[in-house]
């Protein structure tokens, strides 16, 4: 039986972004009945038992995150929707916001109802002008129709929703960077603890969830936790730390494929299925050399690893960071891994916010080394050094303040370990004499021993 899309069910309808079309398809019915029949606690329960895991990259169980909100806090509680979508290769939030903004709004309303938030912010990537237009129009429609504002649908529930345009930096998508940015400051991620649930936006309890996560909430409330858990990869009984990967998922596909795009499938399709069935294969009749499984931070897998399942635990099994945003980037057999890593290092060096020593120094030094290698001045021992940097800047949890350094490290580690031959060959070919442009620097002259 072919999979019936849920998250993208509406997108091919004409004017799918309008309230009229959304309502005609049954939109906001879930909200109406929930406000009538369900308590916030009921919604929290159903989300918890659905085992929904966050779609923003880290896969943190959403119900658990909500339950960290302090119960006795006088409030206010803030709800932030992360629509900063800046992970390279990632386009799925954008598709939803452009084509079906009301689905997201309904998800936000239900999530805010469950978390008792009366103010919500959508932190929207700066470079998404159409999303801004569609989302703002949808919010205006929702206010006019009484789905937002005071006493929504005559219930006791009130919600104000604002769009905040992002500050055009990757790190603004990190949840505490996002909070700082919303407060009008530099998006320097905060030290945790305290976690946002305890002390977030304006130092009040705050939830940050991804666009797709709140969209899932809408369907879970509508169809129930059992339905959600019937989709995807069940928990591995042998791994007590695997809570399973349930529900529908939006997959992104870009790079050297015939049909790049955003596709919906149950969690757990393989990389090969994604490329062959949804993407209609690698372009120009070529073979894949490497695939980034879920956004650049997740690292890279080889052609031999394409049967890996794209669920929360699959990529881990082949030494990648994780599922990430489930947006794969395909590199064909002609593409140079040196170029790939150079590109990756350039991105992270540019995006490091600069507070943590390992991240600031590690990302820029790795870029400088890649630049030299690319320019034909590399040495074989540079690879060792790159691995040392990759292995120390983010690997131990808590080495840095946020996950950016970790994300910068995986492409380095994966690319060099998995494609070492190609790097060595490139260096030998382009720099046969081991040429060194500048003299090595001496150790500090007077470091006391």
């Amino acid at each position: 039986m072919p999979y019936e899309p849920v998250l993208l069910a509406n997108i091919n309808k004409k004017d799918s972004h309008t309230l009229a079309v959304y309502e005609a398809g049954g939109g906001y019915r879930t909200l109406k009945s929930a406000l009538k029949d369900k308590s916030p606690g009921d919604i929290l329960e159903v989300v918890k038992s659905s085992n929904l895991r966050g779609r923003g990259g880290a896969g943190f169980p959403t119900g658990l995150k909500w339950s960290f909100l302090p119960e006795k806090h006088p409030g206010p509680v803030y709800f932030c929707v992360n629509a900063d979508e800046s992970e390279p290769g990632t386009i799925v939030n954008r598709v939803q916001m452009e084509a079906d903004p009301h689905q997201i709004l309904e998800g936000i309303m239900l999530s805010c109802y469950a978390t008792r938030a009366a103010t919500a912010y959508i932190y929207l990537r700066y470079e998404y002008p159409l999303c801004l237009k569609r989302m703002q129009a949808a919010i205006d429609e929702a206010y006019a129709a009484g789905y937002l504002g005071k006493n929504i649908l005559k219930s006791a529930f009130s919600l104000d929703l604002f769009i905040h345009r992002g500050a055009a930096a990757y790190v603004c998508g990190e949840e505490t960077g996002l909070i700082e940015s919303l407060e009008g400051k530099r998006a320097w991620p905060r030290i945790k603890p305290p976690f946002p649930a305890v002390e977030g936006l304006f130092r009040k309890p705050t939830v940050v969830n991804n666009i797709e996560t709140v969209a899932c909430v809408k369907h879970i409330v509508e169809r129930g936790a059992a339905w959600f858990r019937s989709i995807g990869t069940p928990a591995d009984p042998k791994d007590p730390r695997d809570p399973g990967s349930y529900g529908p998922k939006l997959y992104g596909l870009s790079g050297h494929v015939n049909r790049p795009g955003c596709y919906e499938a149950p969690l757990g399709i393989t990389v090969r299925e994604l490329i062959e069935e949804h993407g209609r294969g690698v372009w120009k009749g070529r073979k894949a050399k490497a695939v980034v499984p879920g956004g650049l931070s997740t690292g890279v897998m080889t052609a031999a690893e394409l049967d890996t399942k794209l669920d929360f635990s699959g990529p881990l099994k082949v030494g990648c960071l994780g599922l990430g945003t489930a947006c794969a980037i395909v590199l064909d057999e002609t593409y140079s891994m040196v170029d790939f890593l150079h590109n990756s290092c350039r991105f992270f060096a540019h995006e490091s916010c600069g507070q943590c020593t390992p991240c600031r120094e590690g990302t820029s030094w790795s870029l400088m080394m890649l630049e030299r290698i690319k320019a034909g001045r590399g040495r074989l021992k540079d690879l060792e050094l790159l691995l040392e940097i990759g292995d120390t800047i983010g690997i131990i949890p808590g080495t840095t303040i946020c996950g950016l350094a970790d994300g910068a490290a995986w492409p380095i580690k994966n690319a060099i370990r998995k494609f070492r031959g190609e790097f060595e060959e490139y260096i030998k070919r382009t720099n046969p004499e081991g040429y060194m442009e500048t003299e090595p620097v001496e150790a500090m002259a007077t470091v006391p021993k």
């Binding site: 930096a169 530099r186 320097w188 030290i191 060096a349 540019h350 995006e351 490091s352 916010c353 600069g354 507070q355 943590c356 020593t357 390992p358 600031r360 120094e361 590690g362 990302t363 820029s364 030094w365 400088m368 080394m369 030299r372 021992k381 540079d382 060792e384 050094l385 040392e388 940097i389 292995d391 120390t392 800047i393 690997i395 131990i396 949890p397 808590g398 080495t399 840095t400 303040i401 060194m436 442009e437 500048t438 003299e439 090595p440 620097v441 001496e442 150790a443 500090m444 002259a445 007077t446 470091v447 006391p448 021993k449």
Partner: protein
């Protein structure tokens, strides 16, 4: 509180709850590499070098982990080692290895980290040097900022925010381009930086480093010679030269923090213009100073003694006036007044507090029964509401200003400010009361009116501990907010809000400054402040009280020592036979009975020929006193003037004999700061050859006038003071070696009194004073439409004799500017930087304009630090009738652009 036990690398440690693993380790002598930690600041956790392994929690930064009972910490593991090593190596590669020429060599945290992780040349060689070239900012005269050497620990940014409260620095750009910068990446001197140097002392590397740094070979603990805050200093000395200054971390006043003057303003001690031989007036000249020839001490002292004796013999002792300095030590002031009383035989002795804080003595005594600060400065952090009246601590008492900012940010203290100028603290105030100069009494009565009207007064306190309430309550009836608003120019709603905020707080504290005292009703203004405290029961408890912020370092002491014409040392009564008898017996003399002249009155007596000679120690009235044309005339008309000075000031130039004196760093003694703490001043270096200390000078002069002073050293003088002044009977040098003592300190076992009036007032009850508003002596009118008010600048001090001989301070603030509101400037056609003429009924001066909304419309502002811009040629000599303090804060002036001066 119970200690928490934890183990770090198998060492069992007991730590204070609430501290971090890093604090605990460092405290136990276990080094954990760190760059962004500083004990004075909140943790930032950005360098990521302090990673440790905590059992059950994995690897976390030690500086962010609070200690917990039973914690097991390991500071090293293979993973941690790798992590630190790579981070340290990469940091070092960005850093110029200039250690031998770096001001932070041997004090550098990066060197320490490098030594600890073990930097290996071969490993570094694998990375190739790249060139990050960022320009050095050396615009500040005292320190450089070299972003190339920066490890981006953020300590400077946090210091400027948390300690200095200035927020001049922040991070700019991102990733590898991240750097510490001022707003708009301007040079430091163009930014809002106040050059306190707090960031420089905390920067762990050479990125922020003092210019011309020299490692001292020894340090001498002493007290700052500038404002009345009384910060503890450690003077760094090499040979016989002061090469640096550090804040004394043990001082309860400043806890190691200093302002720009204290840290960088001590250079005047080494200035080549210091006087080094006695000078005698001689039209033929002969010294490097025209009009003076050099003389031996013998000749100069002989001439001074003979001249004073001759005038005394011819005209009587009352023809001689003595003015002591509130910058000198207590011992000097005591000795000086003893000289005037016992040797010359007159009570004509005063000190320069006359022109600043005498109304504090009269006003506070009238209400409380004694004229000093009631509470310790530490209470700034303990109070709920701080009410500042007529003072700008961020400029005049910068370290107090910093403490206030920290109290606001860190302790949630609420601030009310009454000041005609929008000072830096006024910007944090809620509400700010922009009071028209000269209307403080109306405002203070108005606040009392609201408090009474709304029943916010403390009836129990009033009944139990005060008198005079009824007539006071009746008096303030007439000061309803509407009327007060009309008088003061403050919106009635803000007056009400301020009254409620002050009265509703459980603890509220008043700090006031010269904006209260330097008025023709200055004493009444002080009483108004004290009335408010009584009305709300804000006296005698922690976090309450009324504290004058003293202008100069020893204003309190000079008055306590009896350098006053109406009281003997320790405010003992001249009229009291027993007291007089005690002094006469001790001093072996007959004391004059009549009160002497206040020195601001003395100028009139010169004109009438009643005062013929004066002896002035370290004071420059020819520049700092109002209507200075008259002061100059009076000084010039004296038959004989002898002056002890460091530099040939304007006053010294009018003297017949100038005696070169030692500076604060060249002598022993004590100062008493704004909260009554007697603090030791210590000799760090020898005075320049040819100078003598004031104590020696006065003793030798007395010798020549036939009176042998028995106590001739600072310590002996303090013993004499303790014997003569009951309030200070317990204060002795050996005790002061350990820590300062606040008077009253009644015997050797008394640890001093940080707080006054806990149980009772000197007269039993405190007295409400019913006072009335009176318009200032000089109201603006059609010909002189603006109000001139005067004050200080951060970088300078008083007549500038010290600060203007400190080159860096003059670089930062090279000249005086007239502050004028944009509205007034537009009306008068005055533009920024243009030369204007400011004229009052007494004189006129030229100065450049600074157009700024710090001044309210109708008010212009000038400081009095610059001889080139003698502001006091404009001010008037109308005096507060009780304290004889002049009204510096209100003069009517007109301002006009100078034609022709602004071309090009």
């Amino acid at each position: 509180m119970d200690q928490v036990n934890l183990s770090i690398d198998a060492v069992e440690i007991a730590a204070t709850p609430g501290t971090t693993v890093l604090d605990a380790a460092l405290g136990a002598g276990i080094y954990i590499p760190h760059l962004c930690h500083h004990p004075d600041l909140k943790p930032a956790g950005v360098c990521r070098l302090c990673m440790v392994e905590i059992a059950g929690r994995g690897t976390t930064p030690a500086c962010l982990s609070p200690v917990e009972e039973g914690m097991v910490v390991r500071t090293e593991s293979p993973e941690i080692r790798d992590l630190r090593r790579v981070a340290a190596e990469l940091l070092i590669l960005d850093h110029r290895p200039d250690c031998l020429v770096c001001a932070k060599n041997n004090r550098c945290e990066l060197q320490r980290v490098a030594a600890h992780v073990g930097i290996d040349a071969a490993r570094l060689a694998r990375l190739r040097r790249h060139e990050k070239t960022l320009p050095v900012d050396d615009s500040n005269p005292f320190f450089t900022h070299d972003p190339q050497q920066c490890v981006l620990c953020g300590i400077c940014v946090r210091t400027c925010n948390e300690i200095a409260g200035v927020n001049a620095l922040d991070f700019a750009f991102r990733g590898f381009d991240t750097m510490v910068a001022t707003f708009g990446n301007d040079p430091l001197v163009k930014s809002r930086c106040e050059s306190c140097g707090e960031c420089v002392v905390r920067c762990p590397v050479g990125a922020l480093a003092a210019k011309d740094f020299q490692q001292p070979s020894r340090e001498v603990k002493t007290i700052c010679p500038y404002c009345g805050t009384g910060c503890g200093l450690l003077l760094g000395v090499r040979g016989n030269r002061i090469v640096g200054v550090r804040g004394d971390p043990d001082s309860s006043v400043n806890r190691g923090i200093l302002c720009v003057k204290g840290r960088f303003g001590i250079d005047f001690v080494n200035h080549p213009d210091r006087l080094s031989t006695p000078l005698i007036r001689d039209p033929a000249g002969g010294s490097r100073f025209p009009g003076f020839r050099e003389a031996s001490w013998d000749e100069a002292l002989g001439l001074a003694a003979r001249s004073l004796a001759a005038i005394r013999n011819q005209y009587g002792p009352a023809a001689i006036m003595g003015i002591s300095s509130s910058r000198g030590t207590n011992e000097e002031s005591y000795l000086f007044q003893k000289f005037m009383r016992a040797v010359v035989g007159t009570n004509n002795v005063d000190n320069c507090a006359r022109v600043c804080h005498s109304p504090s003595v009269t006003g506070l005594s009238a209400v409380f029964g004694s004229g000093a600060a009631t509470n310790p400065l530490d209470d700034i952090e303990e109070t709920e509401v701080l009410f500042l009246v007529g003072c700008s601590p961020t400029e005049a008492h910068p370290v107090i200003g910093m403490r206030i900012q920290r109290a606001i940010a860190g302790n949630g203290v609420r601030l009310i400010v009454a000041d005609p100028r929008k000072t830096r603290l006024a910007q944090s105030a809620d509400p700010w009361l922009p009071v028209r100069p000269g209307t403080n009494v109306a405002l203070l009565n108005g606040l009392a009116h609201v408090i009474l009207r709304e029943g916010l007064h403390d009836e129990r306190f009033i009944a139990a501990r005060t008198e005079g309430f009824e007539s006071f309550a009746e008096k303030v009836q007439a000061y309803a907010p509407d009327r007060v608003a009309a008088i003061t120019g403050i919106p009635a709603g803000d007056i009400e809000a301020a009254a409620r905020r002050y009265a509703q707080a459980d603890r509220a504290m008043i700090l006031y400054g010269l904006g209260v005292t330097e008025h023709s009703d200055g004493s009444l203004g002080v009483m108004g402040c004290a009335n408010l405290a009584l009305l709300t029961g804000n006296v005698g408890r922690k976090g309450t009280g009324v504290n004058p912020l003293r202008g100069q370092n020893n204003v309190q002491g000079a008055c306590d020592m009896g350098a006053l014409p109406n009281v003997l040392p320790g405010y003992q009564s001249l009229e009291d036979e027993a007291v007089r008898g005690k002094f006469e017996a001790a001093w072996n003399c007959k004391l004059p009975v009549h009160k002497g002249l206040k020195y601001t009155e003395a100028w009139h007596f010169v004109r009438r020929g009643r005062v013929r000679a004066a002896y002035i120690v370290g004071h420059n009235p020819a520049l700092t006193d109002p209507y200075l044309q008259r002061v100059e005339e009076a000084l010039a008309a004296l038959d004989f003037l002898v002056v002890n000075e460091l530099f040939l000031t304007k006053t010294a130039r009018l003297a017949h004999v100038v005696l070169p004196a030692a500076s604060f760093a060249e002598k022993e003694g004590t100062f008493i700061n704004a909260d009554r703490q007697v603090q030791r001043v210590r000799k760090a270096v020898d005075p320049p050859a040819g100078c003598k200390t004031d104590v020696d000078i006065i003793c030798e002069l007395a010798d020549r006038m036939g009176y042998a002073m028995p106590a001739r050293t600072a310590a002996d003088l303090m013993d004499e003071i303790a014997a003569m002044v009951p309030l200070m009977a317990g204060i002795r040098y050996p005790r002061l070696e350990e820590h300062p003592l606040a008077w009253p300190c009644l015997d050797e076992k008394d640890c001093g009194s940080r707080m006054l009036y806990e149980k009772s007032f000197p007269r039993g009850r405190a007295t409400f004073r019913a006072i009335d508003h009176a318009e200032p002596a000089e109201a603006p009118d059609a010909s002189y439409p603006l109000i001139l008010t005067t004050g200080r600048r951060l970088q300078h001090y008083n007549c500038g004799s010290m600060t203007r001989c400190t080159p860096g301070l003059s670089t930062l603030c090279p000249e005086e500017r007239l502050e004028i509101h944009p509205q007034d400037a537009a009306g008068l056609n005055v533009r920024e930087d243009e030369m204007v003429e400011v004229a009052s009924r007494r004189g006129k001066i030229r100065v450049r304009a600074r157009v700024t909304d710090r001044c309210s419309p109708g008010v212009v502002f000038l400081s009095f630090h610059f001889e080139e811009v003698p502001t006091n040629a404009l001010t008037g000599d109308r005096l507060d009738p009780m304290a004889c303090t002049p009204e510096y804060k209100v003069s009517a002036v007109r301002v006009a652009p100078v034609e022709g001066a602004n071309v090009g």
